[in-house]
């Protein structure tokens, strides 16, 4: 019998280190585009990597489409969170600050998806226009095949918020598709 035994993997770069080296510049560029500030962008990248570290078990090969999608979503979500937080912080000095009216989209609750006729291009066109907070939930659900609990943990929101966004997001898609017909 042959028995191979090895104690350590010191030459083996960890998955997280590989992700860091591969994606830090891409993540910074996106954060800078949103925040228009070098230090805020670096903070956002650091926060995004903290979320990635917390969810490292959900990430596969560094180069896979799923990993790119996951990191891209977390990157944008975190930068937008920093942006919103900053906006809130300066709100007192900015009269007339307009909150996003997400409830304006709540319509057609409970309508069956199968009632709507559309083409694949029409669906793609509609989802491109979807507000970011719905888009990111759907991207994690459909591209990364994450469940509500995993999406909630990745985006740092409650499971209830994930359920609501999926439901409201669907309503928006249906409404817009109906408008196209």
């Amino acid at each position: 019998m042959i028995f191979l035994m090895m104690i350590d993997t010191e030459e083996d770069k960890s998955k997280f280190e590989v992700l860091y080296e591969k994606y830090k510049n891409l993540m910074y560029a996106k954060a800078k585009e949103i925040l228009k500030d070098t230090y805020l962008a670096e903070d956002a990248v650091n926060e995004a990597f903290m979320k990635i570290a917390d969810n490292i078990d959900k990430i596969g090969e560094a180069d896979s489409k799923e990993t790119k999608n996951y990191i891209m979503v977390i990157n944008k979500n975190t930068a937008l969170d920093v942006y919103r937080k900053r906006k809130r912080d300066t709100r007192l000095e900015m009269p007339g600050f307009d909150e996003e009216k997400e409830d304006a989209y709540i319509i057609n609750e409970g309508k069956d998806l199968s009632d709507i006729l559309c083409t694949e291009n029409q669906v793609l066109k509609v989802i491109r226009e979807l507000p970011e907070k719905y888009k990111e939930v759907f991207l994690l659900k459909y591209v990364n095949n994450l469940g509500n609990a995993q999406i909630a943990k990745s985006l740092n929101i409650s499971e209830e918020a994930v359920r609501q966004r999926i439901s409201r997001g669907r309503n928006i898609i249906e409404k817009k598709l109906e408008g196209i017909q």
Binding site: M6, D12, L113, L117, E120, Y142, I173, L177
Partner: protein, 235 residues
């Protein structure tokens, strides 16, 4: 294009296409290399250390993943089965298990004795080097593991495995030096790698002990073994 009823499948396909578009745009816009601030790099260094530790711990609990990772490193200990007798094992649960490895010329035959199932004594080091704290201890299949770490992130890993006297061990190493010592009247060896890492190997009775240390002298690693004592008992 023909209109179809909107289904979950269509939605999924649309989001997969959207993801492709977004990734392409993201990669296109992010080609510039940024010089990150020192503050950012310090924060990331700490996060990387913490996460790498978490990944390592996770590897411990997945023995198959662990073994395949092990097969990728230069140091290999080969145990050669010399006789076919399995009489030394009283427990009928013991069995050999063949595992595939990345090394074409090698195969892993794991002699499995589940330390958690049968009668077994688990030995831990009698001396813990200054600054190190135990961060993990547990039995995983045929291995008893203890993992220590200091504030600088250096680690010591302690392994105890079951074997029998029907097994002998040949060790194929690429090391700079070998330190030899004695524990309970039996010899042990510590292989000192080029990187400074030390790997200890010791057989005693039904058990094989192995330990690795990032930043410890061979003498101190040997001291851990020499003072080893029973720290857990399964009967």
């Amino acid at each position: 294009m023909e209109q179809k009823k909107l289904t979950e499948g269509m939605l999924q396909q649309a989001f997969l296409s959207l993801s492709d578009e977004m990734i392409e745009e993201w990669e296109e816009k992010g080609k510039v290399r940024h010089k990150f601030s020192e503050q950012f790099q310090n924060k990331m260094e700490k996060l990387i250390k913490k996460t790498v530790r978490k990944e390592k711990m996770s590897k411990f609990s997945l023995s198959v993943r662990y073994l395949s990772a092990m097969a990728a490193v230069a140091l290999i200990c080969v145990i050669i089965f010399t006789t076919g007798s399995m009489k030394a094992w009283a427990n009928p649960m013991h069995r050999f298990k063949k595992m595939e490895t990345a090394l074409e010329t090698s195969a892993i035959l794991l002699y499995e004795k589940n330390l958690a199932e049968g009668d077994a004594y688990m030995y831990g080091p009698g001396h813990i080097p200054k600054g190190y704290e135990e961060i993990y201890k547990g039995i995983e299949g045929n291995r008893f593991l203890i993992y220590y770490e200091n504030e600088q992130g250096n680690s010591i890993k302690w392994f105890q495995m079951s074997v029998t006297d029907t097994l002998t061990m040949g060790i194929n190493t690429e090391c700079e030096d070998i330190y030899e010592g004695e524990c309970k009247g039996e010899p042990y060896k510590i292989y000192i790698l080029e990187s400074g890492k030390k790997l200890l190997y010791f057989e005693s009775g039904d058990y094989v002990f192995m330990a690795s240390a990032d930043d410890l002298s061979a003498k101190e690693l040997g001291k851990m073994l020499e003072g080893m004592k029973i720290c857990q008992e399964n009967r």
